[in-house]
Symmetry: C2
Subunit: 392 residues, 2 copies
């Protein structure tokens, strides 16, 4: 048996959601998506969380059958929710927000009918906004992720063996991450990211375009999952970019580092240093109140001043962002695009990933996860940024 | 650059989809879900597949940008589809089917508006039905999965070390599977399954109820992913149930085997033999034309005759099915429940998993993946079914 009870941390998160509800005119929110259930309740269950502007939230739990607590109501199917509300003397809401960007069409229709069928408001957007600014407890979990992800990456020089394929290299790295406590599973927003434990991009494979919303691609091992390592041998003169799963506790950090097999071209080394220069500049400039679009502009100016734009964020295919929020999901708000309308806020957590794909060499660049603070960015993924040679 | 062209295999699959379209009165189907895109085109891309009752399908590709072929049309956004149809002299369909069980509400609204806003028909259901009966090419991929999954499982006795935790055991097994070519990633239907590469259930942890739609549970390593191994040491007198990822090529087999640490109770051994008896019986009885609900009934009769129903498909929490279709997704049609309305058809592929959770010992039972043939079930997961003692 497991107890869930209302904690001060939960109240903090509910207050953020309620601020969005008030702004959007929602009397109630009904959540069912795992990421949002976990955000509010601190654990995943199958069922629904019902939040009104005041009072305790109601946790309607279908499975598991052993959850208890003041908010918990065991439920067989969502059609029984009105009955439970009425038995608590609660009115049916006149406007409800549902996760219209996360739940399938047919599921939203079913839930919406239970609440009278008026057009639902967008709970997905409300929760994404609420989750963008982290609490102290969330920040502390993400700091732990950064430390553990760095510990796993520190073992990379011992993993590499001559004539290894990129997939063999990735498999050993997956093992090291898992032994460090990595849960292995990525939560992402939307249906445009599919991957197993992250991405290892070796040599020219970094230039293979992918269908997915990742910064760089890779052909993958199979046409059913065309992303990441493709089984080629790691050859001298190329780089290997490591961008693996940083989820150790339900939250995650996102961190990319590059190693080389022997020396690599001047162009590759220069592009890598430009990536670091972008990070150093943004670490100072990314202050609360600054438009997120401005970060993209600053990065692009540095890249163009160095004449590297044709390699930036891909070569055969380009991605139109330089970073993204991160937390429970890999791709949270804000998204660092030129079209972003967000302003930075203190305690947002963003991953910045200025990456280059250099033909014949591979991918270079650094990705760090940062907390936004009043004095600039605080790095959560502290690990040497230089390209180290795996042959040395 | 990659070519996609119409192949006889693709025509075979299109014919199955068109049969469903005719039955449901759909003039056109628009697919966007990865599993369905892969099913029709043989690879994953971001974009849409547009199918009418006659003529070539149209592949509208947003990413990657290097796909070519007679069906391929590069697309920036779905709003441009009507223009492309018109430029090919194709009329707008008067009825369209969309993946209303797979795509988010807001995405279906957007797509549906492009096609005039009439209520969309259910392409999710059409594709699930079409995919339930496999082609020879699909069966051949799934046979390969069974062989490779069995090869990985055969290394389990060498993986086990005394006083290992279940998570350490699972990590070594993940590595062995990956080295065997496992892609690691599970495709599932719906949003009620989250897991990393499968499930290892050791001892009493098998009785921890999970929120997810898996046959048995496990508390998991973290409340953000409450399923599977929970980090406990593997102790004498308990079982370890292994139900790991069988996806080596975009298709997958589903296979469960049990090992013991030292001898286990008579009750556990007896329940395991009852599971095998259920499988032997169903292997004979599961013929084309037999109602799927009947399989559940036969299994339940055997379980009840042996007085084991309180341990069947869970103990603290029970699952109400004994198996499921499998293919590109882990949970395809038909679902082996008492309420199923499906009849078995030749070349359906089903995983049957009569499992028991025995308090203080753990989970027992066998899961095999089978092809339905006119003379009974053909097993695709051939591997010894007995409980072997890891200490011997």
């Amino acid at each position: 048996m497991t107890e869930i009870n209302l904690t001060p941390e939960m109240e903090l998160r509910l207050a953020k959601v309620r601020a969005r509800m008030s702004a959007d005119g929602a009397q109630a929110v009904l959540l069912a998506d795992s990421s949002n259930i976990y955000y509010i309740s601190g654990r995943v269950f199958r069922g629904y969380i019902y939040i009104t502007l005041e009072g305790e939230p109601l946790f309607f739990v279908i499975r598991p059958n052993d959850l208890r607590g003041s908010c918990v109501h065991q439920l067989r199917k969502p059609e029984l929710i009105p009955e439970i509300l009425s038995s608590h003397g609660l009115p049916m809401p006149s406007s409800i927000a549902l996760e219209i960007d996360d739940l399938p069409y047919s599921e939203i229709l079913r839930l919406n009918n239970i609440f009278g069928g008026a057009t639902p408001l967008n709970a997905s957007a409300m929760l994404r906004e609420a989750r963008a600014v982290k609490t102290a407890a969330e920040l502390s979990l993400m700091k732990e992720d950064g430390v553990r992800q760095a510990a796993a990456y520190s073992r990379i020089p011992r993993i590499y063996k001559e004539d290894m394929t990129d997939i063999e290299f990735q498999i050993e790295l997956e093992r090291v991450l898992r032994l460090e406590g990595c849960l292995g599973y990525y939560r992402t927003s939307g249906r445009l990211m599919e991957i197993n434990m992250g991405s290892v991009l070796n040599g020219e494979n970094a230039d293979a375009p992918t269908p997915y919303d990742f910064a760089v691609g890779g052909g993958g091992a199979d046409l059913s999952l065309p992303v990441g390592a493709d089984g080629r041998t790691m050859k001298p003169g190329t780089t290997v970019m490591v961008d693996m799963c940083g989820n150790f506790n339900g939250y995650q950090t996102d961190m990319t580092r590059v190693w080389s097999i022997g020396p690599v071209s001047e162009l590759a080394l220069r592009a890598h240093e430009v990536s670091r220069k972008v990070l150093r500049t943004l670490e100072r400039e990314a202050l609360p109140g600054v438009p997120v679009a401005k970060l993209y502009e600053i990065a692009m100016d540095i890249v163009v001043a160095n004449g590297l734009e044709k390699y930036f964020m891909g070569h055969t295919q380009h991605a139109a962002f330089i970073g993204h929020g991160v937390g429970i999901q890999l791709n949270e708000l804000p998204v660092l695009t030129p079209r972003s309308r967000h302003l930075l806020e203190a305690d947002m957590v963003i991953a910045i990933e200025p990456k280059f794909v250099i033909p014949e060499v591979g991918a270079v660049g650094v990705e760090n996860t940062y907390r936004v603070t009043p004095s600039g960015l605080e790095c959560l993924t502290n690990f040497p940024e230089e390209i180290h040679d795996l042959l040395q």
